[in-house]
Amino acid sequence: MFLKKTMGRREFFTASSISIAAAATAAAGSSFEVPSLVGSAAAATPEPIGDPIHIGFLAALSGPDAGWGLPGLTGNQIFIDRVNAEGGLLVGGERRPLKMFAFDDEATGSKALQGAKQLVLENDVKFISAIGGNPADATHPFLSKKKVIYASLISTDIMPDRPYLIAGGDVTPRIDMLRPFYHRFVNPDLKRWAVISQDDTIGLTSQAWEVGSALADGWDVVYDVNYAIETTDFAPVVTALLATKPDVVSLNLSYPTFVVQIVEQLYLQGFKGLISANYLDTESILQKVPVEYLEGAVDSFQLFDDPWWGSPSWQHDFITEWMARYGPGAPEDVHREITGIDWDHVITLKVWAEGVTLAGTVDPDAVLETLRAQESIPSILGPSTMVGKEMWGIDNMVSPPIPINEVRGGIKRVQAVVRFEGWFAARKEKIIKVVEEKGQMHYQR
């Protein structure tokens, strides 16, 4: 399963001038403290306390989709409490405490709209953390009229007629676009790229962007299919895929349960090549396939206790704090392991908070304009920018650097952190052309 690499990854990245600030600091063993404009309360006279700012959490808190929503409450709460420990968010010379209100929309459009109305009309929220998808579609006319920022996890929700919808918490599809590039250098002998994902909007759009990127970086895309989202038996899906004899099987943004089943089938049907995906739930997958099979597989959801970040670091601190507060035996024990969703919503929340402080107001137009003007905004994944006009028609995508992990001995370890903007600028025409041919550009959907 191991593929020969002709040059060490470190040298490659230095040679290609991709930002490896994190790599350097990790190598030096120093901390990776995420900077913040909020800063510590070092002022000689503390700022006056202003009115609280209310934040909404509108996502599935029960029912089958709760896994994408409910865990996010913990991360958001940890962030909010940190801010409030300083007195609150610094806005125009005042410290305004944050307060979060949750509403269960059961991932249904109608309930989401009801929730949006309650959060805005009753709780006067200025910002809403959400999962996205159907609820984003249902709520955006109301939220646009009321000028409330809605932070979806899914970049495919961004559209020019949704001025206040931002996204980027989940790094799709940028990660799926960068993986072919990563593999091109790290696995230069390989040529044949196969990609599958489910046939909902997220899958269709993300896959289009991945295929465009793979082609732009010189791969032969030998298989490009979206399976039905209701598929329960992946044996035939994988059989058809393997008939094209790929070197790399990419799972794009397949939902975690699909990934487990697909990898299981790849194992059972004897695939010996490279597995690459947006998110690998290694714990679940390793219950279906032996540890050796997953060696070298690639994804992009890093573990926060990865030594890469160094100690102390925001990531390590977060895990420690989460365990102390929500872990087993802790005061607010949530009776489950930490997941990627626990911190996923904080990415956009923190970026918005920084924007509010910088702009000195909660007015959404001012905040967004300020964010777009920044060369770099501190996020928990690293320095980000607000971009996306070429991809989505409006600069509402929070773009942090993207970690790329490989599985080693059953554990994911960060191997590189890659910046998107420069890479995209060099290839955008080619990629956009492919996405357009597939009918997945925002003006076609």
Binding site: D104, E106, T108, G109, S110, L113, E122, N134, F142
Partner: protein, 326 residues
């Protein structure tokens, strides 16, 4: 039209309160009231097929048909809301008629299951066919409607628009309940073989009840679609159907008012139980079981018993206690 002035007074009082309500409560509560009224039409519409004993599990799908019809009509022909609502209701009635054709050969329990399956079939067509139904993501961009320059995006104007529909729908459904057709429906429920033997065309009346219920469910669906601006197959799945059943079970269905009462009580319970988060469905499951096992007639039967206790004790001649209300 009505028998006595007391009913008129009651009606006017209700309308007065309903008319004043949106001005006295917060904006969000007006939204809740709008949804309540839409559900009011829905729950009363479900009662109609149950009058013949046909407890279908496909009723919310009929509401969905109305909603999807509205979505398509608005997208293709940009019709005014005054047209989309009645047209969607007609579409729902037609689909109801189509669906009831195979169903008519079953009854009781078989009807239950078959209606569940056929309802799912319709719902699955929305999920499967992205063109034109939007697939699992549903459809968005349904206009909120406007009339004479008043934009129904705002809750208060739309509230009154829905109120008008509620008034007329409930009026018609009440009249059906009281009419000969209504009595025929109930006769079929009580003893369908007997009804047949006296010459009542049972399948015809069952189909009529089903289609009429679907018609009004379609109205509710259309009004909902305009309010949400979007439709989603998830809105009309079996979970929503169970909630509808809970309203009717809690309220009772032997009188016209039972379902209304059940809906009112459960709406309060639903809003107030929000803090329970993930535990809510358990509460509702428990309520359903409790009522079905201990109080199958619903709360209206409880009132019946109470009224018996308190009113029929009085000796004859002391006032008109025995004839109060319906």
């Amino acid at each position: 039209m009505f028998v006595n002035w007391k009913t008129w007074l009651f009606l006017i009082a209700v309308l007065a309160v309903a008319g004043a309500a949106p001005f006295m409560v917060r904006a969000y509560s007006t939204e809740v009231l709008i949804l309540f009224m839409i559900n009011l039409i829905l729950v009363c519409s479900y009662r109609i097929p149950t009058m013949t004993g046909d407890w279908s599990l496909s009723h919310v799908v009929m509401m969905g048909v109305g909603a999807y019809a509205t979505a398509l009509l608005s997208k293709w022909w940009d019709l005014s809301i005054l047209l989309t609502v009645p047209l969607s209701a007609v579409v729902a009635a037609v689909v109801g008629l189509i669906l009831v054709t195979p169903l008519i050969r079953t009854k009781g329990f078989g009807f239950f299951i078959a209606s569940f399956a056929l309802g799912e079939f319709v719902r699955l067509t929305w999920v499967k066919f992205r063109d034109p139904f939007g697939g699992p993501r549903g459809m968005i961009g349904i206009p909120s409607g406007e009339l004479g320059g008043i934009d129904f995006f705002e809750p208060v104007p739309y509230y009154f628009f829905v109120l008008v529909f509620v008034f007329f729908s409930l009026l018609v459904m009440y009249r059906i309940d009281r009419s000969r057709i209504g009595r025929t429906f109930k006769a079929i429920y009580t003893d369908s073989e007997l009804a047949e033997s006296v010459g009542i065309d049972v399948p015809h009346y069952r189909a009529l009840a089903f289609a009429t219920g679907a018609f009004f469910a379609g109205i509710a669906g259309s009004l909902l679609a305009h309010r949400l601006g979007a439709v989603d197959p998830k809105n009309f799945d079996v979970t929503t159907m169970v909630y509808l059943i809970i309203w009717i079970v809690v309220g009772g269905s032997s009188t016209f008012w039972g379902p209304i009462f059940g809906l009112t009580v459960m709406t309060f319970v639903f809003e107030w139980s929000r803090p329970l988060l993930e535990w809510r469905p358990l509460l509702f499951g428990g309520i359903l079981i409790f009522f079905l096992v201990f109080l199958p007639g619903g709360l209206e039967s409880l009132f019946g018993k109470l009224r018996e206790r308190f009113f029929t004790r009085k000796p004859l001649g002391k006032g008109s206690a025995g004839s109060s209300g319906t």
